[in-house]
């Protein structure tokens, strides 16, 4: 236990140290440094960045190309670089080979539940750690932060034994419940509320006789909302893309998208264009979220980096 809690802690302080020690309480600093003081980019910078964008985006384009062609097309030399006419028939083939319809529905249920549950738990705990005083607060926070770096993958064997005993194998709750644990989320919400929620506000509400639950719903949640949104986005993407635990806990009879993709890539399906069609279907929902809210996700990751 002590090893668990203590080992990674030394690495945690440097993470949050730079912004807090170097530039205390200058929320506007980032915005200002961008406005005019940094150097203007030359054509070389644009060229290199464009190449990076191309490399980032090309595999997506290639997925569309490969998913809309036939296996025979893909074996041609030189390969064709434009989309073909077979997209729909390949989608149909995926539906037959792996139950991708069910997989999409399951992934939606799993990721949605995990997102709602995680945001709620983490906001509650984050608020307590940020603004309430209680015995053992420091120790519990250290325990949470300390285990943040330990990959959950290391606990899969006992976890599997537990869900086997509960007869949860192949049922969605076996993926949802462990997915609700996010030490990062607690830390993220704590940092957010430390910075945005003034003590006086809670104090005033308390003097007015508001109950603890009332204070949480009418004061804390409205202020925490931007942080909750970012945490929700990051959680949803992570839950949708989670791989190890779902392939252990679920099977092709009741798959999430990632489990279905694993089945497609497992060597039973030889048709590359069908595999790519499945990949495309499984990636589209996250790409949709990313297309709509990419800006917020970028902001969230950069915020998370500065805050911890």
């Amino acid at each position: 236990m002590t090893a668990l809690a203590n080992a990674p802690v030394p690495s945690a302080p440097p993470v949050q140290a730079p912004p807090e020690a170097g530039t205390p309480k200058r929320p506007g600093a980032r915005g200002r440094s961008r406005a005019g003081r940094t150097m203007k980019a030359g054509w070389l910078a644009y060229a290199v960045l464009s190449v990076a964008v191309l490399v980032s985006a090309f595999p997506f384009y290639w997925t569309i190309v490969a998913a809309s062609r036939s296996n025979a097309d893909l074996a041609q030399v030189p390969p064709s670089l434009l989309p073909g006419p077979n997209l729909m028939s390949n989608f149909q083939a995926v539906m037959e080979e792996a139950d991708i319809g069910l997989a999409l529905l399951n992934s939606l249920i799993v990721s949605g539940s995990i997102t709602v549950g995680t945001v709620l738990c983490c906001t509650l705990a984050g608020f307590a750690f940020a603004k309430l005083r209680f015995r053992g607060r420091g120790a519990l926070l250290a325990l949470t932060v300390g285990t943040m770096m330990i990959p959950p993958q290391l606990g899969v064997i006992p976890l599997f034994m537990v869900i086997a005993k509960l007869e949860w194998v192949n049922q969605l709750q076996s993926v949802i419940l462990p997915g609700l644990v996010s030490a990062f989320g607690v830390f993220f919400m704590r940092q957010f509320l430390v910075q945005t929620l003034p003590d006086e506000l809670i104090e005033a509400a308390r003097v007015d006789g508001a109950s603890s639950a009332r204070i949480f719903w009418s004061i804390v949640v409205p202020i925490a909302r931007p942080g909750m949104a970012v945490l929700g986005l990051l959680t949803f993407m992570a839950a949708w893309n989670d791989f190890f635990w779902p392939i252990v806990a679920l099977s092709s009879q009741n798959p999430t998208v990632q489990v279905a993709l694993r089945q497609l890539g497992g060597g039973y399906v030889q048709d590359q264009s069908v595999i790519m069609a499945g990949t495309l279907l499984g990636t589209l929902p996250v790409l949709l979220v990313f297309g709509l809210l990419g800006r917020q996700i970028v902001g969230g990751i950069m915020q998370g980096a500065v805050k911890g």
Binding site: P10, G136, Q153, F244
Partner: protein, 322 residues
């Protein structure tokens, strides 16, 4: 752990001081509410986070088979002996290390360069940042399936391009170095943009005055990068290095789906520790042995993080001494 508790004395809630002594029941309630707030998280955390991690060590001392996970038979250190005498354990340990270096080093260096460019005054900077984060939004499974196609031996686009340049096709599956490069490429593709954004955030929190001072001293852009940006980013670099290294020790989905086999290639040439653990547990049904591997991986992470922290601390101390 217990040493930390007294450092945070349980002061009475602020409101209690103002009000003229609330009744005892209410005071007790007020003291209990904070625990109500953290209860949902810590219940789940204890059940699905802490317990499995700790219990892994316990399971690793027993014989547990996948088909009968309820039956445990004492084995002492037998699982560890079995693991340490298996040549494939040592091979996967070595592969984890080489793939880790092949994926982490280029990833972080490129991310640093891209972050530097993104930190210039740019037209369409939101576009560049978002586009660079696109791979991060893809799942391991999807990314690996696409790259497995691109790295195909006979009809893969990458071998085609190599052919256009005039070189012979590379067998990305069976060659040890080639397959490890291919697997590392997937990791690099997925994480470079993410790390670039982390570095960018770090760069933007470096006080602008430092650059102005350096400029007045006549430092070139390169020297500013080396003497202002890099030292300012050091904590961020340590952080990304730790996170990427931990990620590298856990690498699993990429080698599993590259060819779809749990052995990581016909001669285990790109099998990682994560995959080795999965093979033992869910390929050969030895859950106890898999738990022993998980525990070894955990110790590996402790060592990696410890070394990193030590290096970081020594550097900071050295700087403070100057």
């Amino acid at each position: 752990m217990s040493l930390l508790a007294p450092a945070e004395p349980a002061a009475p809630p602020g409101a209690a001081r103002r009000q003229p002594r609330p009744p005892a029941a209410r005071r007790l309630w007020r003291k209990a509410t904070p625990y109500a707030y953290i209860a949902p998280f810590f219940t789940l955390f204890a059940a699905f986070g802490l317990f499995p991690l700790v219990y892994t060590a316990f399971v690793s001392l027993y014989r547990v088979e996948l088909q009968t996970p309820g039956e445990m038979e004492w084995r002492g250190l037998g699982n560890y002996t079995a693991v340490f005498t298996d040549e494939f354990f040592w091979l996967s340990l070595r592969n984890t290390f080489t793939i880790g270096v092949l994926s982490t080093a280029p990833q972080l260096v490129m991310a640093l360069g891209l972050a530097h460019l993104l930190n210039y005054r740019l037209r369409g900077r939101t576009f560049f940042r978002t586009a660079m984060l696109l791979p991060y939004a893809t799942s391991v499974a999807a990314a690996t399936l696409v790259f497995a196609q691109l790295f195909g031996r006979d009809f893969g686009l990458i071998n085609y391009l190599i052919g256009v340049v005039g070189l012979g096709p590379v067998n990305w599956q069976t060659g040890t170095v080639a397959s490890q490069i291919a697997v590392s490429t997937i990791v690099v593709w997925r994480w470079t943009g993410y790390n670039a954004l982390i570095y960018l955030a770090g760069m933007q929190s470096i006080p602008q005055e430092l650059y102005e001072a350096a400029e007045m001293d006549g430092a070139s852009r390169w020297r500013q990068f080396v003497h202002v940006t890099l030292p300012g980013l050091r904590p961020t670099i340590v952080f990304t290095a730790v996170v990427s290294t931990i990620g590298a020790t856990q690498l699993f989905g990429e080698p599993l789906l590259f060819e779809g086999s749990v052995s990581g290639g016909i001669s285990h040439q790109y099998q990682t520790l994560g995959l080795y653990m999965y093979e033992q547990g869910w390929g050969f049904f030895h859950l106890g042995r898999a738990a022993a591997i998980a525990w070894v991986m955990f110790l590996l992470i402790v060592v990696v993080v410890g070394v990193n922290a030590l290096v970081a601390r020594r550097r900071i101390r050295k700087e403070a001494g100057r």
